[in-house]
């Protein structure tokens, strides 16, 4: 298949999945009605369904694609299939930023901004510490300092939960930490797509350069690439994608780990194929999770819980299958 057809087909797949989600479940509307509503000429039911569920769909697609794209990038970059956006402490850092803003009584826009700042600070702390500790393998020192940053941010999150006012703030904080696609308005979700799309464009552009970086900095430099600069660009782009997802949807795990693994089984390791397919699978997975979250009665289940409940066993199966094949 021609390589430029991939993104088109994948976009189509996600669009169809989103349409299916809209057409089923509570407030399900006929696809024809839905298209009419998109054009501004639909029935009242279709308009209502669109208004209520479009923000969730946008949030789910963006979160799934961004986390999966960032996960695939980190996995290629560190040539380590067991890393995810949490690797650099970015998810926890963004979570801590948002928690602090919630405790301060900020509105949702400020919470999102704080999540960005927290994620970027965590990534910065990780990168600076790794640069200071650069003896031996730089990939290893980055993973280790990321672990430390993540642990610090998690401790901060625990403290935030203890300090939170138990009746007004704690439920909001807890709910946000468990992940949700229903917090953002359509405008907020669409706005958060901008940094995610910027990060994704950079990661997709990197393509073969990511493959060269996966050989290690020494090999990449020997091939004539500015390895340090490119690695920094890649980490920054993946961090931007992760922060955008956390800002909108809270802390949703497993997608960044699971989607690249599934994609790798289908198209192999080459970044120019692996990253776009990971993003597609991530978006589709998030849509399924979103559909499931409202499928069990009136109370909405937190998507972070569902992502773990579905994603963790799915990852285990994939991991065992992959290990057995390569053994």
């Amino acid at each position: 298949m021609k390589s430029h057809l991939y993104p088109l087909l994948m976009g189509l797949a996600v669009f169809l999945a989103a349409g299916t989600v809209m057409a089923t479940g509570p407030l399900g509307v006929h696809p024809v009605d839905l298209i009419a509503a998109l054009a501004g000429r639909g029935s009242a039911e279709a308009e209502l369904a669109l208004a209520l569920r479009a923000p969730r769909l946008v949030a789910a697609i963006m979160t799934g694609a961004a986390l999966a794209g960032a996960g695939a990038t980190f996995q290629i970059l560190f040539r380590n299939p067991l890393v995810a956006p949490d690797l650099l402490g970015v998810s926890s850092g963004a979570g801590l930023g948002a928690a602090v803003a919630l405790l301060a009584g900020a509105g949702i826009a400020a919470v999102q901004g704080a999540a960005f700042v927290g994620g970027a600070l965590a990534a910065g702390l990780t990168l600076v510490c790794a640069a200071l500790a650069r003896t031996g393998d730089p990939r290893l020192s980055l993973v280790l300092t990321g672990l430390v940053t993540g642990a610090l941010a998690s401790a901060g999150l625990g403290l935030a939960a203890v300090l939170a006012e138990p009746y007004s703030q704690l439920p909001t904080l807890t709910y946000w930490l468990l992940g949700s696609f229903s917090r953002a308005t359509l405008t907020e979700a669409v706005l958060a797509c901008l940094p995610a799309a910027a990060g994704a464009s950079v990661v997709l552009w990197l393509g073969f350069r990511l493959d060269a970086l996966s050989l290690g900095d020494e090999q990449a430099r020997s091939l004539g690439l500015p390895a340090g600069t490119l690695r920094l660009i890649a980490v920054a782009a993946a961090t931007l994608m992760t922060s955008a997802a956390v800002a909108v949807s809270g802390v949703v795990g497993w997608i960044g780990l699971l989607a690249p693994h599934a994609a790798r089984r289908l198209v192999g390791e080459q970044a120019s194929r692996l990253v776009p397919l990971s993003m597609t699978i991530g978006a589709a997975f998030a849509l399924i999770i979103d559909r499931l979250s409202t499928a069990f009665g009136p109370a909405e289940l937190p998507v972070g819980l569902l992502a773990a409940a579905v994603g963790a066993p799915a990852f285990l199966v994939l991991f065992i299958l992959t290990s057995r094949r390569s053994a």
Binding site: R79, G207, F208, L215, E218, Q219, R221, S222, Q270
Partner: protein, 235 residues
């Protein structure tokens, strides 16, 4: 014709330095670098390749490609893509690799007789096959100076012969090729030899390697086989 020139070059790392080195190697020949383990052969090659900063002195060369010993490069993608990455340095800020890069990668594999490996994942190849694929990448990268770190280590005789021939082809096109090695037969066959001894002294050998030189270099008695003329260490 390429050329590798160094003036008063001191290669080393923290707490360890080799003697100053004046080199002037013309392209077109294979140079073997021999010496005991741990004297700094890899440090010297990486310094010449620009991967380690020299402690002093200068190096004049075009771009240098460095190949680590067999079995140390890992990649999950195909051999063909790995070979095409030889062009990465010329496409740093472009949108992607060009079609011509893929075609050149294919013909480099074909030329070394391993086109059948093109679509296999690199990690699934034997270390001998991997080494040939990496040498195919050197042709695609087309660096005027190729520095090979123990290119024959771990290889079976058939792959060792194939890699040695490929190394000669690299040189025959005018490149400077330096290969560190512990294979004294290989060192005896190539065009010239550099020795690196325990005191950090780098010497260009003139004439064939004598038992005395080898004995002093490695610290073991060396004799010459009466029937084939090969050096026998420890005998």
């Amino acid at each position: 014709m390429s050329r590798l020139v160094s003036r008063d070059l001191i290669a080393g790392r923290k707490g360890f330095a080799l003697n100053p080195l004046d080199l002037d190697l013309p392209g077109g020949s294979v140079v073997a670098l021999i010496g005991p383990n741990g004297v700094g052969k890899t440090t010297l090659l990486k310094t010449l390749a620009g991967l380690l900063p020299p402690l002093a002195g200068t190096i004049q060369a075009g771009s240098c490609a460095y190949l680590p010993p067999p079995g140390t490069v890992g990649a999950g993608f195909t051999a063909l893509h790995l070979v095409a990455l030889g062009r990465a340095g010329r496409r740093v800020w472009s949108t992607g690799l060009a079609k011509a890069d893929i075609e050149d990668a294919r013909s480099a594999l074909d030329r070394l007789g391993i086109i059948n490996l093109a679509d296999r994942p690199f990690d699934r190849l034997s270390s001998g096959q991997q080494q040939l694929v990496l040498i195919a990448r050197l042709f695609v990268q087309d660096a005027p100076v190729c520095l090979l770190d123990e290119p024959l280590a771990l290889l079976d005789p058939a792959h060792a012969v194939a890699v040695e021939n490929a190394t000669r082809q690299l040189a025959a096109e005018g490149r400077v090729v330096i290969a560190s090695t512990h294979d004294l037969d290989f060192a005896a066959r190539v065009d010239s030899v550099l020795t690196l001894d325990r005191d950090g002294a780098i010497t260009a050998q003139t004439g064939p390697l004598t038992p005395e030189t080898l004995a002093a270099l490695f610290g073991v008695p060396v004799s010459i086989c009466a029937c084939c003329g090969r050096p026998i260490c420890g005998g």
